[in-house]
């Protein structure tokens, strides 16, 4: 393995890798959008204590939080066509990309449903009572009072999830999707300058993570105007994500660990 490390490659490969950035971002956006829909659907039965559906959603969440994403990807890649074949739907020609988005979406859905649930539960019971006392209906109380506050609580956790999702897209290459990591691997194989390729890959991921974090922080600030006083000063790089999470867990005092923080 004797080859000279050449830093020039690092810069040379950045634009080449960026050419596949759109695919990576497409996976992130697709998975998060899928996850939001599924997450809301899965959270509702547990918030409103719908029998049977509630148990089902608990199993769903437990499974997707309890198994590695990589295993989930393989499971759905190999399993979904066979299961759908039983009901005579042929998906063997559907591009792998959609499997990846769908699986990552299911995964995100589990975490998002927990986030929604935790955030709604975190809104003080007195807020609902005050809304009723003012004469609001249940629907008005939910949309005007609970939801905006729950959103503000959920945003930091949500932004965590988006960044985690960005990082998880790197797993798509194991199924042969040519996103950034896949591209980096083929570039490395071509030139045998693996290390340089991976350094530029890491730099790109880092910059996108920081940008995403920054954007989501703006959204968070906007939604949390009313919490201004208790907000501590935060640095640019924002090592801010763990404290709010932590605070949530303590305030909620739910059975345990209701707040998702998958990190890989």
């Amino acid at each position: 393995m004797e080859y000279g490390f050449d830093f020039a490659y690092v810069f040379k490969y950045v634009p080449k890798l960026l050419s596949t950035l759109d695919l990576t971002l497409l996976i992130v956006a697709g998975a998060i959008a899928t996850g939001l829909i599924i997450g809301l659907l899965v959270a509702l039965p547990r918030l409103y204590h719908v029998p049977v559906l509630k148990q089902l959603s608990m199993v769903y969440v437990s499974f997707f939080r309890g198994t590695p994403v990589l295993i989930q990807l393989f499971l759905f890649y190999y399993g979904l066509p066979e299961i759908l074949k039983l009901v005579y739907i042929d998906v063997t020609r559907v591009p792998v990309l959609y499997f990846v988005i769908f699986t990552l979406g299911l995964n995100a859905g589990a975490f998002i449903s927990e986030t929604i649930r935790a955030a709604v539960t975190a809104v003080n019971r007195g807020q609902v009572e005050a809304a009723y006392a003012v004469g609001m209906t249940g629907y008005q109380a939910f949309t005007r009072i609970i939801l905006p506050q729950a959103l503000a609580i959920a945003v930091p956790v949500f932004s965590n999830l988006v960044i985690a999702m960005l990082k998880e897209t790197s797993l798509a290459f194991t199924l042969g999707v040519m996103e950034m990591t896949g591209k980096a691997q083929s570039l490395g194989a071509l030139s045998q300058h693996f290390l340089e390729t991976y350094i530029s890959l890491a730099i790109i991921y880092l910059i996108i993570s920081l940008l995403l974090e920054r954007v989501l922080l703006l959204a968070e600030r906007r939604l949390q105007r009313h919490m201004r006083r208790e907000q501590e000063k935060r640095s640019w790089f924002g090592l801010r994500r763990v404290p709010p999470l932590n605070r949530l867990t303590r305030e909620l005092n739910l059975e345990k660990k209701e707040v998702p923080s998958y990190e890989a």
Partner: protein, 250 residues
């Protein structure tokens, strides 16, 4: 006029309200006293249907609600006739002081935004917070938050305002400003029911005092009479225990 007849409420096997009858005339200020666990807060919350009574009827001006057959619509209609000031203020955390006051006007009473703002500002000035219109609850002191809570209740122009221990979560030095506001609006002839531990305040402001213990009304009457000459043994003991300074002040 507010009439409660045979209000009962149980939590599990424990009956917290054992058939309460209470009549409050229009413009009257009623103070409900009693040791903790006597059911006074529960009674107040029943009037606003934040607790569902297991039996009884609630009558507010032109509207009567039978607790056994109360649907969503009836409950909503009942709540529109009353307003509540909470012990923990319960201001909407994500709304400014002004927005808190006008939220009910816009959403429930369908008042136009401009009109609501005008009234909201008036009310906040009335409670001495004209300078804090755009402050969020987290930026206000407890006393200020509670005064916003009172303005929010007033904005709805309810038949009755229910006060649930409005000063017991406050630091002692902030109690005075809130009591002053309540005293002022009491003089305007708004019907009020106040659950409180402030004996001196109750004696001063209320036209009628109710003493509750163990889920029943033990004794009621004009404050002068009830405080200086209680008839029931339980009332005597309570007054002795809770207001030691009271006997000296006369």
């Amino acid at each position: 006029m507010i009439k409660l007849r045979g209000i009962r409420k149980s939590f599990g096997r424990q009956e917290v309200l054992q058939g309460i009858d209470l009549t409050v005339e229009k413009g009257e200020v009623v103070a409900i006293l009693g040791p903790s666990g006597s059911g006074k807060t529960t009674l107040l919350r029943c009037i606003n249907y934040l607790e569902k009574p297991s039996d009884g009827t609630i009558h507010i001006s032109d509207f009567t609600l039978d607790c056994k057959h109360a649907g969503k619509k009836e409950v909503h209609a009942l709540r529109q006739r009353s307003a509540m000031v909470f012990q923990q203020y319960n201001l909407f955390n994500h709304k400014t002081a002004l927005e808190n006051v006008i939220e009910g006007l816009i959403v429930v009473k369908k008042v136009s935004k401009d009109e609501a703002r005008k009234r909201g500002i008036q009310l906040l000035e009335k409670v001495g917070l004209g300078a804090k219109l755009d402050a969020y609850p987290s930026q206000l002191s407890g006393g200020q938050q509670q005064r916003v809570g009172i303005a929010r209740a007033l904005a709805l122009e309810p038949e009755v305002i229910l006060f649930d221990e409005p000063t017991s979560a406050l630091d002692p030095e902030l109690v005075g400003e809130v009591l002053a506001v309540i005293r002022r609006i009491a003089k305007e002839g708004i019907t009020m029911i106040i659950v409180t531990h402030e004996m001196a305040f109750a004696q001063d402001v209320a036209n009628h005092v109710v003493f509750m213990d163990g889920g029943v009304i033990v004794e009621e009457g004009p404050p002068a009479e009830l405080f200086s000459n209680p008839k029931e043994e339980r009332t005597k003991q309570f007054l002795k225990r809770y207001t030691p300074e009271f006997s000296y002040s006369i």
